[in-house]
Symmetry: C2
DNA sequence: CTCGATGCAAATGCTTTGCAGAAAA
DNA sequence: TTTTCTGCAAAGCATTTGCATCGAG
């Protein structure tokens, strides 16, 4: 089991690397380098976690309040197309974007009580999926595994859980 | 796309059982039995697969064209609340509903070339997830595993895949 | 009779798009 | 200069909701 800590400090060199990779992508596509794109991309890679458009927009506006959400959406799509960013949806109806992870692929645990999202990776799990796909004559491009539940070690989460159960009883 | 398939036998007894269970749920909640709800529920359980609201509405309208989508949405929510139906989202932006099959839990393989959705279940996979959660002090309420890829045994899927790869080269 | 259910249309929330002006190449 | 980009507002989409009417209990 490899646990991934999302609270580590931002690696400045890594950010620069990502920015350079995006710049290269832009050029390869024959697109234009703009102040807005630079601001958005730079801001994005300096944030951590699973970032919603809203959250990113707030940060971007601190650097340049004139940037609108349309541009943020458009740039985010470019980031996804470039392969530098992944789009995720955890069922709360809004897209979240994920950039610089130490590990290229990982799965998620989502606490439904406190909203925490943590990442994990396990090679046995990956291998088992590959094996099952094989048995079904299926070729995996990518997969998504999400565990929804509650933090066992947080009192608040456990309390909320009990509350919900009680409410369900009454219904 | 698939809706009601007259060739594959729907287990009439099972459908009746589901209908009865829903009726019981409605009563327990102090809600009312209506012609519309009966039509929608009955139609739903006679369809198979992962049904979108649109697909269900089309079938429902054949029985009663006056039923609108608001009622279909509302009834679908009741079905989910009753525990008889599960809501799924496979990333194409629309919700799909699934009547509980014989196996209470299963995961999905989704072919991105032909749209096929198949189900599978593997106890080792389930056990491994449980173990990983345990190691992280996490309590799983439910999980979701989806493998996205292509059917290996369908020529059309493989052909489409190659086409996509070629297009990606050019870009 | 009462109160929940229905059907329509309008509203919502997230996301995309059309367009005129702005800015890269 | 040419073409893409931006910012705004309007449009899209799936889904939800307000409200007058309808109908089950």
């Amino acid at each position: 089991m490899v646990s991934i800590n999302p609270n580590s400090k931002v690696d400045e060199d890594l950010v620069k690397e990502k920015e350079a990779a995006f710049a290269e992508f832009i050029q390869r596509r024959g697109l234009k380098t703009t102040r807005q794109r630079n601001t958005i991309v730079s801001t994005f890679f300096r944030m951590k976690g699973h970032i919603s458009v809203e959250e990113l927009l707030v940060e971007v506006k601190k650097a340049n309040p004139r940037i609108g959400y349309a541009t943020v959406y458009r740039t985010l799509h470019l980031l996804v197309e470039s392969g530098l960013v992944e789009e995720r949806r955890f069922g709360d109806g809004l897209a979240r974007y994920e950039g610089h992870s130490a590990v290229e692929h990982h799965d998620h645990m989502i606490c439904l009580e406190c909203g925490m999202i943590s990442e994990f990776y396990n090679p046995r799990l990956e291998a088992l999926q590959e094996k099952l796909a094989e048995e079904n004559n299926f070729e995996i491009y990518r997969h998504r595994l999400e565990l929804y539940g509650a933090c066992k070690d947080k009192e608040a989460c456990q309390a909320r859980k009990k509350q919900k159960e009680a409410r369900a009883q009454g219904a």
